[in-house]
Symmetry: C2
Subunit: 323 residues, 2 copies
């Protein structure tokens, strides 16, 4: 294990690939590996890309990847696909990208299914970020299929979120995106040569003016791109860099890391509790009686009955019930 | 409250609408209301509809609704839209449907956002089902936007799941659906007059033959429909009825209700624990030290530190630690 860790720290591609696979498969020795990697985390700029299917997220991420590599930055790409809950396999598009960059040792690309993560960004994604950070990635690009929970989750994982929109995607879609707009740090109007691009930019400007979205005192800029021909990619990166500097100068950079660690820790604790509750429910006769639907069809009443066995849940821990 | 309950039991439309709104808004007196309704639950046939956007789920549900009303069955429709996490409002299409059926007192239609449910089918949906069951609905149709977690969740809520597919939706989409196929009790090939319908049916038959999906000893039938002109709607209903009888005769009907009650109860307990953990984390100095990222960047180590304060989580409850 020690040699794997040192090989990851030297960003040896095969060691990094092996570690990512260990995380993906929830391998038994994953825990030991991660323990040695955590102290190297917290430095990479984690950028999330979200937006409707067809907006050109993959193309933009690909263009940005090429751009960043030219600047000799080490880049990790994680494509999160919440629409495939059963599989952890790579999408066709990612396989193509992987092949294209397969000889470049400064790039790591992985697809992550949302297995076990309730359709959002799961533990695997978070843990893969730790591996990529330890391997010396300067930038980690997270790409989500733009649906549901993953879009909101990305905010808790990424330092900067880019929302990719495109002209002519339909008014109702844009309206439905209103909520998602609140999480964007940078707006990217892709396919900006299509008719309607100017209107879309004006609409976004209008929304931003009417209801300024000042999360962390940052006014999200709007960048036009034509990612398929690498147009505007540099501007997207410049906007993301400005956001990073803003976060660092304002202290939000550090604060987000604190927050993320807290959330991850509490999630782990909740998972342990969940396992305990499942175990207890399948062996404790009192609980089984309380869970019997035929006897008691009200889940609130059943929950109250069971919670009586765990009075500490409602009492502060430094006020123990026993004298 | 008592009068509201009795008015719901008499299926008075305004009382049912008010109860659904109470559940939707998580009103403080919701709990009292539900307590009185639980004993009337467990009788309706809950049918979930899932499938890719554009497959014609809404049209099929609408056609089935008309069909069931002609048979004088009371019907509830819940449209679950996990893509709008921020709003609980109705989609345009549902407003249209609501208007169409607004004078029919045997129909209740509601849209449910996925607010607070991690992109899946949330507590609101489950609780609305209780209200609809108490109001005397014979059938409850659940329609999901076919993405991510809601598709899997529907299995835990519905008695029967219909997967709506359509010809020419693209091979990759069909492949990605492979996982979703496992949860289908009835396959509906909609828009069956489009070219490719026969191929799609043959493909489904092939998949079912090669890898028979015998969840609960049931071989899912394939039904062709053209929902826009009500073609095949009766056949869909017949297939769903056969599935219902299969569940009832095999005992799975009762078993699913037991299972659902157990899951709901455990979820409530987990929510209480989550609230406790959040409270404790914001006031307990020991926990705050353990959660400090700058001191300890490893969430597993932080979780272990905190779990030391709750040894009972790992110990069976009828083996208390204190002598």
């Amino acid at each position: 294990m020690h040699s794997l860790v040192s090989r990851i720290l030297q960003s040896e591609p095969r060691a990094v690939a092996r570690a990512l696979t260990m995380v993906e498969n929830d391998a038994p020795d994953k825990r030991d590996l991660l323990r040695d990697l955590y102290s190297y985390s917290g430095r990479a700029h984690i950028v999330g890309f979200t937006g409707s299917p067809g907006a050109g997220k993959s193309t933009l991420v690909d263009s940005l990847l090429t751009y960043l590599r030219k600047q000799d930055l080490r880049v990790g790409v994680l494509a999160v696909d919440p629409s495939s809950p059963f599989t952890g396999g790579a999408l066709l598009g990612d396989r193509v990208r992987m092949t294209k960059h397969s000889l470049d040792t400064g790039v790591f690309i992985r697809s992550v299914g949302s297995r076990g993560s309730m359709g959002g960004i799961g533990k695997s994604t978070r843990e893969m970020i730790y591996v990529l950070e330890a391997s010396g990635c300067d930038v980690i690009l997270l790409e989500t299929v733009g649906v549901g929970q993953a879009e909101l989750d990305i905010m808790t994982v990424a330092d900067s979120v880019a929302l990719v929109v495109t002209p002519g995607a339909g008014d109702d879609i844009q309206a439905a995106k209103a909520g998602i707009m609140e999480i964007a740090d940078v707006f990217v109007v892709n396919k900006c040569d299509l008719p309607g691009a100017d209107t879309l930019v004006r609409e976004l400007e209008f929304v931003l003016r009417e209801k300024p979205i000042l999360r962390e005192n940052w006014l999200p800029p709007i960048v036009r791109t034509k990612a398929s021909v690498h147009e505007g990619t540099g501007e997207v990166w410049a906007a993301l860099q400005r956001h990073r500097h803003h976060l660092q100068e304002s202290g939000y950079w550090h604060q987000r890391r604190l927050q993320r660690h807290r959330q991850e820790t509490l999630k782990l604790i909740e998972a342990v509790f969940q396992g305990f509750v499942e175990d207890e429910a399948s062996r404790n006769p009192r609980w089984q009686r309380a869970l019997d639907w035929a006897r008691q069809p009200d889940p609130y009443a059943s929950a109250d009955e069971i919670l009586k066995d765990m009075p500490w849940i409602r009492e502060p821990l430094d006020n123990p019930l026993q004298p």
